[in-house]
């Protein structure tokens, strides 16, 4: 059901008026409470996938392709099978059915069938008594390859497709092309007072969650297969296993334990999940596979490199007239979420600013590299970088304050974007105000001396979308509640807690709704046998959708609880309030009952107590092909100000501070929201300065390790200031929207803009390495006498 009507007069928190920003009416929501799983994690008790060991368990390893593009002519595992301690070897022939997280583009095999498409593509898997034996067996497998031309350059893949990377495709090596135009862009640009046109480049980066992927499968004697996996999409893994293994879904159980970080890197079904399942079926023993860090880099699904061309026009007073984008997306070897990525690269740019006209033409091409996929801020971080830098270029041309040009183009709340997306609450102006004030923008910008600067950028992001990856009319999120006579409520949710705290969020909602203490709630999550379906932790959908489903379930139960108490007290139900582990009579302070008594009373009256709840988005999206992709029930908004310091002699850019203002609707737990905001900003700044998922001239990852792929340490991370803005969304659970992905977006363009403020150079090609800074400085100095600063906007009119 739609959440639209949920927060009317029946709201459980008393007299709060809709839209109220006050948290005083809540007992649980809005407070910086502990997480459900914090202490178990802090004490080392929390179990992650590799922490499980089952009796008789085998260990599995993967043989991988050393070629970026080759035909697999022959795989001979006979010598490996002969090695003592080896129980089974499987190859592509064992699981020939293709899968893909997007059902329209199933182009992956668990193990290569016929072809390998990047260095690291899985070819065979071995199950053995121990890891050493499995590794030894890998060296005994003989594979004969016919090496094919490897596409490492996306521009080449765009125009050449002989040999194709994927056969049977109509458009050669083009994975997806989306061209959408809203309004007359060319006319709008022609009529603009000022136009800026430029090229931008976003490099590849990866998630690098600290936990490597791990999966463990076990098959019972009666044929029920259980998979414990480090996944953020239990439900899609369940579906994919059933398809590839040709098993009825009810014979498969998928469980996600504690997850050591994901960020989108565990939101595809992965080779190891199919391999351990198949090997468990073949051997009749539990089988575990833990990837090495190097293998995680090959599995990738990280941020797509993009070449972006933008042309934007504005009036003399800084109002945008049109935006025209052409984007080339380097997809790597498989589709993954690529169809969605291609849409997102254009569809998600149409806020928080009003675009009178807009066009984008995005092409994703296949290359013989590890497959790209969804990384935090899927598909929209790259265009956001380009556009927010371009907006600063426009402001510069018009001699406008960069915050002012953003204010002037604000789209407003409760409006519709140029591409037909419905926008509800929108706290972007408050975000701008917050970072402007906290950073001392007015007093400090442009006055910090050469080498030090402030930059701003804004963004918007989705709180889930109404596009489930496979078309169906069923709920996107479901919740089941079980009430126990002991006073305990057990919540069953398919939602995947990947460290973002979604299990805790569910507990906060249930405690608030049923007036319980937090300790009275247990959450059972992400187990396909036990929990109702939730689509998974992606697209920043969990708080919004699972939160609303939880409210839905609780309201049904609360009605029963209140009815039972009212009957007992022989009073009007409106006098009964459930709060803090008690039922109280709001007109008679002397009368109260503990929740244990309430539960028992209700169970006597109504029978065993439980309820289900669900959430589905309302109908959303533009009326055109692809119009529902990126259509969200609510959008979050963010503004950053970044303060940087550049050593002009070494070119090293240091971020001194970052102020992150984020409109999350309502912070159900401000401490957790702030953690998401700070973690997002950290990750964005890391991409801007340090991280690079880079391939060498052989098509081999140049440094697949946490030594060479440089995650910032505690001395490399700036002081981060989270400024929570609450716009109270009418449809979010208690007004909440997402906070996990949106706050990453502005950090990168804000840094580029800060560097411009510091030194007058525009960095448009990521990452901002010291070498690039020095080169830009040299160029700026060469041009400086003629045209200070403005000369650097080579592309501008």
């Amino acid at each position: 059901m739609s959440a639209r009507d949920l927060h009317g007069p029946g709201a459980p928190w008393g007299a709060a008026t809709p839209g109220s920003k006050s948290n005083t009416d809540f007992k649980v929501v809005g407070r910086a409470l502990r997480k459900l799983d914090g202490l178990s994690k802090a004490t080392g008790a929390a179990l992650y996938a590799d922490d499980l060991q089952l009796p008789g368990m085998l260990h599995a390893k993967t043989l991988r392709s050393p070629h970026p593009h080759a035909r697999v002519l022959r795989v001979d595992a006979s010598r490996a099978l002969a090695l003592p301690g080896v129980l089974a070897v499987i190859t592509g022939a064992s699981m020939p059915i293709k899968y893909g997280v997007i059902p329209w583009t199933p182009d992956e095999n668990a193990l290569a069938v016929d072809k390998v498409r990047f260095i690291g593509d899985p070819v065979a898997a071995v199950a053995a008594l121990d890891e050493d034996t499995a590794n030894a067996a890998l060296k005994l497998i003989e594979v004969e390859y016919q090496v094919l031309h490897a596409y490492l350059d996306p521009f080449e893949a765009l125009v050449r497709h002989d040999p194709p990377i994927h056969e049977d495709r109509k458009e050669g090596n083009i994975s997806k092309n989306v061209r959408l135009e809203f309004g007359a862009v060319d006319e709008a640009l022609a009529g603009a007072d000022v136009v800026v046109e430029d090229d931008y480049e976003f490099h590849g980066t990866t998630h690098a969650a600290i936990e490597p992927h791990c999966a463990l499968a076990s098959c019972s004697a009666d044929g029920v297969l259980t998979l414990w996996s480090s996944t953020q999409i239990t439900h899609y893994v369940h579906r994919a296993l059933a398809k590839v293994l040709e098993l009825p879904p009810h014979k498969i159980r998928v469980v996600q334990l504690n997850l050591g970080g994901a960020f989108g890197g565990k939101s595809d079904p992965f080779s190891l999940e199919f391999c351990v399942a198949k090997l468990a079926l073949v051997t009749g023993r539990p089988v575990k596979m833990l990837w090495t860090r190097e293998e995680v880099f090959y599995a990738h699904r990280g941020r797509h490199p993009m070449h972006l061309h933008y042309k934007s026009g504005a009036t003399r007073d800084g109002k945008l007239t049109g935006v025209d984008a052409k984007i080339l997306i380097d997809g790597g070897s498989y589709s993954s979420f690529g169809l969605v990525t291609t849409y997102y690269s254009g569809q998600l740019l149409t806020g928080p600013y009003h675009f009178p006209t807009y066009r984008f033409d995005s092409s994703r091409v296949f290359t013989n590299k590890p497959p790209c996929g969804p990384k935090r801020g899927h598909g929209s971080v790259q265009p956001r970088f380009a556009f927010e830098v371009q907006l600063d270029q426009l402001a510069e041309r018009l001699a406008l304050d960069p915050i002012e040009i953003r204010r002037r183009n604000f789209q407003g709340d409760f409006t519709r974007t140029v591409n037909g997306q419905r926008v509800t609450s929108n706290g972007f102006l408050q975000c701008l105000d917050a970072v402007e004030r906290a950073s001392g923008w007015k007093q400090r910008r442009g006055k910090l001396g050469r080498g030090r600067g402030l930059g701003v950028a804004g963004s918007m992001y989705i709180s889930g979308t109404n596009y489930p990856v496979y078309p169906n009319e069923m709920p996107q999120a479901g919740i089941q509640l079980k009430l126990d006579r002991s006073g305990l409520v057990t919540v069953f949710t398919g939602g995947n807690d990947i460290g973002q705290g979604s299990n805790s969020m569910v507990a906060y909602v249930v405690a608030e709704e049923l007036g319980l203490k937090l300790e009275q709630i247990r959450v059972v999550a992400a187990d396909t046998d036990l929990c109702p379906v939730d689509l998974g932790a992606y697209s920043s959908r969990v708080t919004f959708m699972v939160g609303n489903a939880a409210i839905d379930a609780c309201r049904k139960l609360r009605a029963q609880l209140v009815a039972a108490v009212a009957q007992k007290w022989a009073c009007d139900e409106r006098r009964v309030r459930l709060i803090d582990g008690l039922a109280i009579d709001i007109e008679d302070a002397a009368r109260s009952m503990t929740s244990v008594e309430v539960f028992q009373l209700a169970e006597s009256k109504f029978d065993t107590l439980g309820a289900t709840g669900s959430y589905n988005t309302p109908k959303l999206g533009g009326d055109y092909r692809g119009g529902t992709i990126g259509a969200s029930p609510a959008y979050s908004f963010t503004a950053h100000v970044v303060e940087c310091e550049v050593d002009v002699e070494t070119g090293r850019v240091s971020v001194v501070r970052a102020w992150i203002a984020h409109d999350c609707g309502r912070a159900l737990n401000p401490m957790i929201v702030a953690g998401q905001m700070e973690g997002s900003a950290y990750m964005g700044l890391a991409e801007a300065l340090l991280e690079h998922h880079q391939l060498n001239r052989f098509g081999l990852h140049s440094g697949p390790s946490l030594l060479d792929y440089r995650l910032p340490t505690s001395v490399d991370t700036p002081e981060l200031h989270a400024l929570i803005v609450e716009s109270i969304d009418p449809e979010g659970p208690y007004g909440a929207k997402e906070a996990g992905e949106g706050p990453l977006h502005p950090s990168i363009p804000a840094l580029s803009n800060a560097i411009h403020d510091a030194l007058g150079i525009r960095l448009k090609h990521l990452p901002f390495t010291p070498g690039k800074v020095l080169a830009a400085l040299r160029q700026e100095q060469a041009l400086r006498p003629a045209r200070p600063h403005a000369a650097l906007d080579e592309g501008s009119r």
Partner: protein, 183 residues
Amino acid sequence: MTVFSFHINGDRVEVAAPDHWTLLEVLRYRLGLTGTKQGCDKGDCGACTVLVDGRPWLACLTLAKSVEGREITTIEGLMPAHRKSGGAGADPLQDAFDRCGALQCGFCQPGMILSARALLARNPRPTRVEIRHALSGNLCRCTGYTQIFEAVESAVAQACGTTTAARAWEAQRERACEREDTP
């Protein structure tokens, strides 16, 4: 396969393991102490940090047999030691990490907490810069480190008898919501 003994969280244990096993493998797969995590395979991330004779040490680069006779502390050892000395609940540092929101996915935190524990043992009142440096061998991918710094500072404050909330969450929210039109 060699049999060797060492002290783990105060208990003497005898372990039989091949010479080429690391301490990390022995802890996780022989002793069932899975609180010590594995993130990078080879000494780059700090998730496997344990204390060897009180010093932060990477278990993934330590040959198991080489700790013969030494005192190892893992994340599982902190709460029992705290209880043994008369405390309640978890170790104060563990509690501070929970209280301050420093645990998101939690995977790096056992190592992080042990690095922080070693810091506080030699420097009970570290500055934020000292905390940054002491934790600079432990990668965290979730938090951006801020809430980790606050957790360590909060534990220090608590040890000094001053109880402070890491941040004034309510006040912060209201500040951010105000609109202010003048500089």
